[in-house]
């Protein structure tokens, strides 16, 4: 009976091995995480998807604040002349900018950009606010919506409008800025590990992949089950590039004006896409407990005679779990059968399902089912809250372990051109290979294989003595290549 229901319910979700992209979209729409909006490339984040965003946002926000940063809010609209001040930045973003040209009935004298990122407006304000060394460091973050006119979009991963946080800091020294950028990289990595159960590589981008206007871009990179890499966050050491363009100076203790040193860094709603892909299976979403809006769903199994009693006990169970600090939910909808609910909550990725029927009540147990392993346990009723807490912790750890094993298995080392090219006829995951360090070689690899350098490790690995996997010239460092989203 349960088997049958399941087949019926999930028939509309494409199998992952048949068409991964279709599976991804099916899960998002069936689990009601998001929907397409009428404007091309825009999405609506539905309540269940937004609840996940709130959980991950709050967890990250706490870490950002704990490291001394404050939140603020800068305007959506940026005058074109500001964006144009920094040449590299302009070139990088202008093709993606949406322009406001009319306000009410008035045609604007200067076009206004919807922020594609906020360096231009924030630097303008910093130039005004920062006066003396006493004002430094400035450690500001904002949570905001961003608009980039994308040609090819995909729900959560690349949308015309998305939500993100962007940190913008100003410092007295080069070292301090570099340390800040690296501290945030570390913070992002820990957050993804501990909260999202997503293992990531940390490294630095090549010139080709650098943020326009940055000295160095640090990156966290995850691996999706289709073998493609996903950049899940970046942290930029901006040097004095923007400071010089926007004239952000301060009076040092030496009584001279100096330019500040800056960083910027961000993660986006794309993280929800990573969560779906990294953890999901053919039954749908599988959420790590720390970002699951419903950590334990209580499903009563009711029969005519005992219905009232079982419902009351299911209610008490859900209440007890909530009091114990879990995000618990009683699914007491009358119009759906238990089997249907089981499938729906598997699709929605609730880490624990707690079934309570007359037999469970009789035996003094709750039948608990883990979403990740589908393991079924009869848990004594009086121990359920403690058991659920421990098990959610175990699930969180097991999900990270499973994803870490996958990442490790799908990171391969090759040291010659032929093996490298052969691997990229498929989607091998991350490929560690010797590289000459030259952008034209990197471009050629990208053209021929579709793979790009995702990062160079923070402690570069010396590859001298090897031949570059791309051009065959003298290699300098080991680089990590992948096809990427």
């Amino acid at each position: 009976m349960e088997e049958q229901d399941e087949k019926k319910f999930v028939k509309d979700i494409c199998r992952r091995d048949v068409d991964f992209s279709q599976w991804y979209i099916d899960v998002i729409r069936k689990a009601e995480l998001a929907d397409y909006a009428p404007v091309r490339g825009c999405m609506v984040i539905r309540p269940y998807g937004y609840a996940i965003w709130e959980l991950l946002r709050d967890a990250l926000d706490e870490r950002i604040k704990a490291t001394g940063h404050e939140n603020a809010y800068f305007p959506l609209l940026i005058p074109e002349s500001f964006l144009a001040k920094e040449a590299e930045h302009t070139e990088g973003f202008t093709p993606q900018v949406a322009w406001v040209t009319q306000g009410g009935t008035e045609v604007l004298e200067e076009r206004l950009a919807l922020r594609p990122t906020s360096e231009a407006i924030i630097c303008q304000m910093y130039a005004k606010w920062i006066r003396s060394w006493r004002d430094l460091p400035v450690l500001i973050n904002q949570w905001a919506n961003i608009v980039r006119w994308e040609k090819v979009t995909r729900l959560f991963l690349r949308t015309t409008e998305f939500l993100w946080q962007e940190g913008h800091t100003a410092h007295r020294t080069d070292d301090e800025a570099r340390e800040e950028a690296l501290k945030i990289l570390e913070l992002y990595g820990d957050f993804m590990n501990e909260i999202l159960a997503i293992p990531v590589y940390k490294g630095v981008k090549t010139d080709r992949e650098r943020f326009p206007g940055a000295l160095q871009t640090y990156t966290v990179e995850a691996l999706m089950p289709d073998g493609r890499a996903l950049q899940t966050g970046t942290s930029h050491n901006l040097g004095q590039h923007f400071a010089k363009v926007f004239d952000i100076t301060y009076l040092e203790e030496d009584n001279k004006l100096h330019y500040v040193w800056q960083t910027s860094w961000g993660v986006t709603t794309r993280l929800i896409g990573a969560l779906i892909m990294v953890h999901g299976d053919d039954a749908g979403l599988k959420l790590p407990p720390r970002v699951a809006p419903v950590q334990a769903v209580v499903v009563p199994i009711t029969f005519e005679k005992t219905k009232e009693d079982v419902l009351a006990k299911a209610h008490a169970l859900a209440d007890e779990l909530e009091v114990a600090g879990l995000r618990a939910k009683l699914d007491d909808r009358d119009e759906y059968k238990p089997g249907w609910k089981f499938n729906e909550w598997e699709l929605r990725g609730a880490p624990l399902r707690l079934e309570l029927g007359p037999k469970d009540v009789e035996k003094g147990v709750v039948t608990a089912v883990r979403r990740d392993t589908r393991e079924k346990t009869a848990v004594p009723r009086d121990k359920i809250a403690a058991w659920a807490k421990d098990t959610l912790e175990a699930i969180q750890g097991d999900m990270l372990a499973a994803a870490s094993a996958y990442l490790k298995e799908n990171t391969k080392t090759v040291d010659n051109h032929d093996d490298f090219y052969l691997l990229f006829e498929g989607r091998p995951g991350f490929v560690r290979a010797p590289w000459c360090g030259e952008t034209p070689c990197e471009d050629q690899i990208a053209d021929e294989t579709g793979a790009t350098i995702r990062f160079i490790p923070l402690e570069p690995e010396d590859a001298r003595g090897k031949d570059c996997a791309g051009c065959g010239g003298k290699a300098k460092v080991w680089a990590y290549f992948a096809k990427a989203y």
Copy 2:
């Protein structure tokens, strides 16, 4: 010495009785709540201002969720054709819309509005999502940025871009929708009372002041110290107006298609403006403890000999208060003198200042000063956490009481044309007067006095037998008039 510092420090804040508007702007800029952005009418919400916003947002969000609502996120960009669907709505908002006409290098075929409010996009999605009575009610809220091209702007009170929450609900019956709109009005009122310490009147708007497209607009109205009213939140019963235009139907249990009944409701960053005005004084901001980013600031009074000891004890004091659950801050900046800090934290409105000097240490006390009354108390060191908690509660209550007394004193009743017009030669606050119920009369009063009807009480007060304070005709109800922001 302290006196002198104060004079020096606050010399740049205009006195309230000299120029209230200037005082308002001075406080915002000196307390670093917000700053002007380069685009006309836009503002930057600086960290201290944004911390207030976060506190009030989280407190309100908790109440919105506790009443069964979920958050979601809908797109910023709305196609012109959607906005144009509802005639009254269009007419009301089009003069204020900012238009995106270009995306990247592409000129758009259809202009896209930056949302001036989200009914048009949300209704479009509801039409798609809502199928059966099982899907109702839909209780969704969103926190978002809004753009309205305003001609005259003022920080927080009216800005081209602002932040808000907007609830959008859909129901099976007329009664349910009306109840929802009124429940939210109640929720807003309680929130403003209990969290912001701002007393408000609740009522219903006249046709003239109704939200474009609504059946009824309920409003909460506060009174500012300059005698002008400020609308601090609105809740609209939309009836089936939008449902018919956007074709939002559902299959009832009677197996027929019906239109849903809707509401929408919102409050904005304007609430920060209300906080500043209602509670502030010539020394600056005065924050109710529940939304004060710093509830208790610890200022060490140091002298060369005892500096180390006092600083260590001040640190321990701040830590102890934080552990006790207060938002405490140690101001240990070396470059500023205590008197300067006293004034700065008065300007920034911290409800409690705790001074700790060598004499306090000797006596085993902390010298506590209340921001609202400036009352100074020597509190035994071992009782300070409990005392601070109790006193913050007392301050919260006292601030509400003071504001309530002001509101009461400045609500006057008149029952004839001459007294009414005489009162409005000044700024009398709220004036309760008999009114005929006719829009042309209301228009004429507005033209002649600058006062508008802020609300009619929820339980209308019968004024038959009286003459209308405007036109002298037969009155129907008592209306509350004021000059307003």
